[in-house]
Amino acid sequence: MSSAITLDGVSAGYRDRMVLDNFSLDVPEGTMLGILGPNGAGKTTLFKVLSGLLVPRSGSVTLFGQPVARLAPAERARLVAVVPQELDIPVAYTVQDVVMMGRTTSLSRWGQPSARDRQIVERAMVYTDVADIRDRPITELSGGERQRAIVALALAQKPRMILMDEATSHLDLNHRLEIMQLVERLNQENGVTVLLISHDLQLASEFCRRLVLLDAGRVVADGRPAAVLTEENLRRVYRCAVRVHEDAETGGLSILPAPRLPAARVGHGIGIHVVAGGGCGEDVLRRLSLCGYTVTCGVLNRGDLDAEVAAALGIETVLEQPFYAVGESAREAARQLAAKAEAIVLTSVPFGPGNLANLDLLERMQAAGKPVLVMEGIESRDYTPDRAAVRRVSELVTHGAAVWRDLADLLTRLPTAASHPADLP
Amino acid sequence: MSWLRLRDCSPFLLTVLLLGTLTSGCRKAEPPAPVSASGHLRVVSLAPSITEIVCAVGAGDQLVGRSSACDYPPEVVRRVPVVGDFGVPSLERLLDVHPDLVLYAAMADDTFARRLERAELRNAQVRCTRLDEIPTAIRLVGILLHHEGRAKALAVDLERAFAETRAKALPPGKRPSCLVIIWHDPITAAGRNSFLADLVTLAGGKNIGDEIDRDYFQVSGEWVQARDPDFILCFVMAGKTPVRDILTRQPGWERLKAVRTGHVYADFDNNIMLRPGPRVLEALAILKQSLAGQPPAPPPSVAAP
């Protein structure tokens, strides 16, 4: 099978910013390829390079065996058509006028369009189901109708390849499916190569047999949807936790952001004591409260950001005077409070001589056999002169304290109602 | 009694201030006070025609300032400093020559007069834009400068000359028709409210622009063709531009009567022709000559002062 596109070592970008960096890709003719990636990954730049809008600084771009740079615009228009995300048309052309513009390269200058042009336009309009609105001004159409008209415009060019740049983002579900099915038919029946940029990962995985995942101008993964859309890849590229689920029946993939909230309020009033300060515990305090845990906190200085959050959430907190080191009475109060909890969580609060005493609480909990969860990275948060915090936390870990990375991780490690059947009402 | 707050006073204070400013600007213009016969008034003239009138009534030595357009008589011009351009006098330079009286021509608005008032300069407007205003202007200047006798004599002379010429004038039907042009691009003709129209009529011609109730107006080639005048008189102050050639080369003009008979005249001394003043009789004579078929001789170039 001949190649539709070959990009070899292409570097392209704007002014001083290289968006695509030493990029290579080969797409055989007849492929339906989905191009995915976060904003700024270079997807639109790739399309610009393919359609000749942007000239790469280095590397070669070949379309159907011919270098893009050497293609005459008219020839190129007969090879590649682009369907943009949206087209702002200030002039009240009718749908037919717009679709007829797809024939620009072959229209006669003076007279009326030829019979062949008219036939091609007619067919394109029928294919995209805009034939019955052909005389309506495009400015009066709905989003879906307008996009179908633009697809018709692209079809009227009779291209061998179509580039769709998030062309269905604005459409509602049935129109989106409609356009995708239309494009799929084009691909399967007429052998038109289709490249599709979409943020709808599921849609892309369903219609495209091959996906390319881009990040920062480079190809991260290239292959079948199941191979490209892994949790690892997606987490790395989109920088958020996701969950990928493959439907056993259809083989379709469903991609969801990883649960931010546990499905059930698993806390059930289980007591968790949180050691925080300076705003580091805000997320933890909030999330644990939402999950239904009975959260306690201390020792915090009065006026501390976490103290205010705790107060707002109704969390029982042991407070010390502002800017004072943790004193004996505060320490005792905290010890009593912590004793009532089932587990203790250490957040990313930095340690200095003033709040080092809070580590006592953790040590006591561990001695009592209750779970201790410390956040990773204590090395960078120890401001005590003798690295006492690092030492003590390492001790805790050695004796069985769990280390948690992020909130999602933490939630999985906390004791839940399921692990305490005796506490259920 | 409670102290009045300044805030409450301010509207009242503002009103007082405002009224004060308004009333202070409303000083009435004082008429020029009569000066004893032995005293000589220092006079500034801001228009060429006024300068000529001042000299004609014998008060030339009293001139201490003139406009840059004033160019006659030459000896006055040599001696008297310029205090501004015609229509744009410089108040500073005016004050510098310490005039007792400032004479200026009619202007579109009276802002200039008010400026002179504010600078406390005695001033008088001398209207001299039409033929019949010349004798009146001469009389006025004579009164203002205490040369009534000479002024009156001159005015009477002019009036008599005008009356005689009018008495001997041909009826309108027998007069040669004239197109009087003061600018070539676009062609601007003199209407019946202009000095040139007065002059041409007095000289025995019939100005085809008289049908228009304006001083000067733009005309199209077609308008000229429809009236086909006997004479085309060009009073264009355009320096070295060959106005006659430009005009006669316009499309269709070669078929005009005046062009075919060679009666297109452009070599007038516009300093005489366009200036309503004491030399009006000279202008009249030149025009009569032209209308008799004798083109004027080009004026000798005058050395610029």
Binding site: S51, R109 | F217, G239
Partner: protein
């Protein structure tokens, strides 16, 4: 009983086009009947010169009106802005400045072509400056960039013009001011032949670009995808628009509103397809200016500058259009 089907848009627009085509000669003929020598056709045996002068004037009005309208169409297509007109890009101010320089330096005395040549050269220079300012470094200038730099350069030219006028001898000023108000009394038929010929050729060339102009109104990127050499077409189209505007200004001074108004009206009548819009605008604009000039020379018994009449007619009409557009929600 089925209700009568509404006439499809295409047919209605085609009918309008033929109407414009048919009405134009009628209007032009009416204009020949009006003039300073009186209403009515001058007898060509007894008054051949007057007839010839009138025909020349009507022809000048037609050619210049057509040119200004076509330039307006092109600029509105390229800049994708319905407020675009030949003067937005500062072409008129540059041309006016060139004329003033020629008149006030005495260059105009060298012959009838000197003023038009001078204004033409400066108009082209102005356009190049505007283009360069809008998109430095060879990049494609954006619509806003073009309009902004057009306004800036236009202001600079106007200021220079005002400066020249203020220091000029009074006599030269009169000519310049008359020039800036527009005047179809062409004193040199050779000039009209050259200027009019250039304008006509330019209009034809613009008509030939209709498919590309259509594509460009969809956006420069989209036009590129449709196979149009956008940079080349934009440069050529702008160049043509400048050429015919400068030729018009050189012949008849500054006449405004024609390039703004006529394309608008024609677009509502015959539709936005340039293959129909360009000739309709040319014919309509030509007829419009000829009629305005007929009014200008006969309404009062003195000559009024034709630019005044186009402004008096075009101005309120344009405000009305603007009002209607805003009511309709900003879309055409």
């Amino acid at each position: 009983m089925k209700p009568a089907a509404p006439v499809p848009r295409q047919t209605h627009q085609t009918r309008m086009f033929w109407l414009v085509l048919g009405l134009t000669p009628v209007l032009l003929g009416l204009c020949v009947l009006m003039g300073a020598a009186g209403i009515g056709l001058p007898d060509w045996t007894t008054q051949p010169v007057i007839l010839r002068l009138r025909l020349t004037r009507v022809l000048a009005g037609f050619l210049i009106g057509a040119a200004l309208s076509c330039a307006g169409v092109v600029l509105q297509a390229i800049l994708r802005n319905p407020l675009a007109e030949p003067y937005v890009l500062g072409v008129s101010s540059g041309a006016g400045l060139g004329a003033a320089v020629a008149i006030l330096t005495g260059f105009s005395a060298l012959g009838a072509f000197s003023v038009p040549l001078s204004s033409f050269v400066l108009a082209v220079l102005t356009l190049l400056t505007v283009y360069r300012l809008a998109g430095p470094g060879g990049s494609r200038p954006s619509v806003f960039g073009l309009i902004l730099s057009g306004v800036m350069v236009s202001s600079v030219c106007s200021s220079l013009l005002m400066f020249l006028v203020s220091v000029a001898p009074i006599e030269g000023m009169h000519s310049v001011i008359w020039w800036t108000l527009g005047n179809l009394e062409v004193t040199s038929e050779a000039l009209l032949a050259v200027g009019g010929g250039l304008s006509a050729a330019g209009c034809l060339a613009i008509w030939a670009l209709s498919p590309e102009l259509n594509a460009i109104t969809l956006g420069h990127d989209m036009a590129h995808h449709l196979g149009v050499r956008v940079k080349v077409i934009v440069a050529v189209a702008l160049g043509l628009a400048t050429l015919i505007t400068a030729a018009s200004v050189a012949v008849a001074g500054l006449i405004g509103f024609v390039g703004l108004l006529v394309p608008h009206v024609m677009r509502t009548l015959v539709g936005p397809d340039h293959r129909r819009l360009v000739p309709a605008a040319a014919l309509g604009g030509g007829a419009f200016l000829a009629v305005c000039d007929a009014v200008a020379r006969t309404a009062l018994n003195v000559e009024i500058p034709v630019g005044v009449v186009t402004a008096l007619i075009g101005g309120p009409f344009f405000l009305f259009l603007l009002h209607r557009r805003r009511k309709a929600g900003g879309l055409e």
